[in-house]
Symmetry: C2
Subunit: 295 residues, 2 copies
């Protein structure tokens, strides 16, 4: 195997979060379901922004946040995602690079503006997210840099990538390059509603071996196998997935490798397994209690 | 006197803060003086942004922050300041309106982008500020809405307005309209270096009665009268100013009205004077221990 330049390379929606405090009445009035993410179009984004309170802007995005977390732990990290050549796009590019992550995806010069996620935080600490995908929808296969992919030990993708129309082609291209270079491909299922939208495709990817490593929380796992029983869902995933990490909030996380594939001593198995109490927020390697020994 | 629509109307630089953590070594390398504000041009802004860490964007500006504070205390508040019609300009406009402040200054359609202040926060909590004035420099006298000024009990201006070339003309126009409508005009001296840049002009404004109410901290007061002795500076201000509020960090604040003007029972004197311990941060009415009884 050739030498790596990156321990991990993420591909995801490049998003700037617009975070404001709110209350339950506002969520009800806006017909939002607390604690979930929904997609909104440009007109909805404008209407919501008008209605919501003063906000703070922070670079976000599910996989991007995870990659920044990995970089903060010392990993050599890279990210691929699409912004527009506008002010928020420059904010995103600055922030991820300033965090030590290589980010070279060319920004879109035309089309919709950089993606924004309007995050409404209620007094109970729950985050309710409304995502305008904007320029993130324009992530195309030609944004996938084959050299960067082949130089990364693991590529890490978010389930949310299935929302923008061309991103899944970009993802499949990246997965093929990675496997041809003997690298591993990881997928986080993102959220239970995302799994609901793309269940069949995610299962196909996992069963076909396009995905080597699956990250999921309990709700996503239940959604994937359409069951309310954890053990049933877990047994199903054990049959389908080569390697999986299930985060369980206060119950820590569960990690397994498929017996059939018997990869305990093979490539990609260099993971230190640990159970820890987690805060149940986010999916960075630190929080989910897994840390790649090669990072 | 006609009825008011606003308890207070601020005029100031409309700025989005770009806030990042840093350390003393970074400040030294960038030749910054800790705890102060300096003006930077577009090239310096670009260089600094490249060098600094991941940041958070929050609407800011000295007078704008004060006006938002007044609105949060229940005041009917308005603000005049110049942004560009760009993303950060829309962020500023959203945030100040969402805080309940009337903001109707038309954004610039061309020229430099919305002003940004790069705020570097060291572990000791000190803020070191680098301001790129951008579109704020294009605040012109024709941005002053005479009806809004005449309908505000007090207009509140920041000393930093003397930095953009045309803003002082806008300020003088607003002060004349306010006085013709029998309203009061307040000025905050902003910072000791700002006073250093415009000492003669500030003294002229105060002595000529263009300013009815002066806000200053001790350092600004010392700078105004070029003395290290507080009592000497205070005596000088007592002679010059009609009404003044001096904030003194842990020693609370000092408020006086000029005896010569004998305005204790005249218009504009409806202020409840109080001495309180303050946190020494910011200059909102709450923190400085003064609260207009008509608010």
């Amino acid at each position: 195997m050739a030498a790596t330049r990156f321990d991990v390379l993420g591909i995801g929606n490049a998003i700037v979060d617009v975070i404001a405090r709110t209350d339950d009445a506002f969520l009800a009035k806006q017909k939002m379901r607390k604690g979930t993410m929904r997609l909104i179009d440009e007109a909805q984004a404008a209407g919501l922004y008008d209605a919501m309170g003063p906000a703070v802007e922070v670079s976000g995005g599910s996989a991007a946040n995870t990659i920044v977390g990995a970089a903060s732990l010392g990993a050599r990290a890279a990210f691929i995602g699409k912004v527009k050549d506008d002010e928020l796009g420059r904010v995103f590019a600055h922030d991820i690079r300033a965090a030590g992550v290589a980010f070279a995806t060319p920004p879109a010069s035309a089309g919709p503006s950089t993606a924004r996620c309007y995050v409404l935080v209620t007094p109970d600490g729950e985050r309710t997210m409304n995502t305008y995908l904007g320029a993130a929808q324009d992530l195309h296969p030609n944004d996938i840099d084959p050299d960067a992919i082949a130089a990364a030990q693991i590529i890490y993708l978010e389930g949310y990538l299935w929302d923008p129309p061309h991103a899944k082609e970009a993802f499949l291209k990246a997965a093929k390059i990675a496997h041809d270079a003997d690298r591993d491909v990881a997928l986080t299922l993102s959220d239970a509603f995302c799994v609901d939208r793309y269940r069949a495709e995610f299962l196909d990817l996992i069963r076909a071996g396009t995905i080597d490593l699956v990250f999921a929380n309990e709700r996503e796992l239940h959604s994937l196998y359409e069951t309310a029983d954890f053990d049933t869902a877990l047994d199903a995933l054990r049959k389908d997935a080569r390697l999986a990490v299930i985060t369980r909030s206060e119950r820590g996380c569960l990690i397994f490798e498929s017996c059939e594939n018997a990869l305990a001593s093979g490539p990609g198995s260099g993971l230190t397994v640990a159970r820890r109490q987690t805060s149940g927020v986010g999916k960075t390697p630190r929080r989910s209690g897994i840390r790649a020994s090669r990072l």
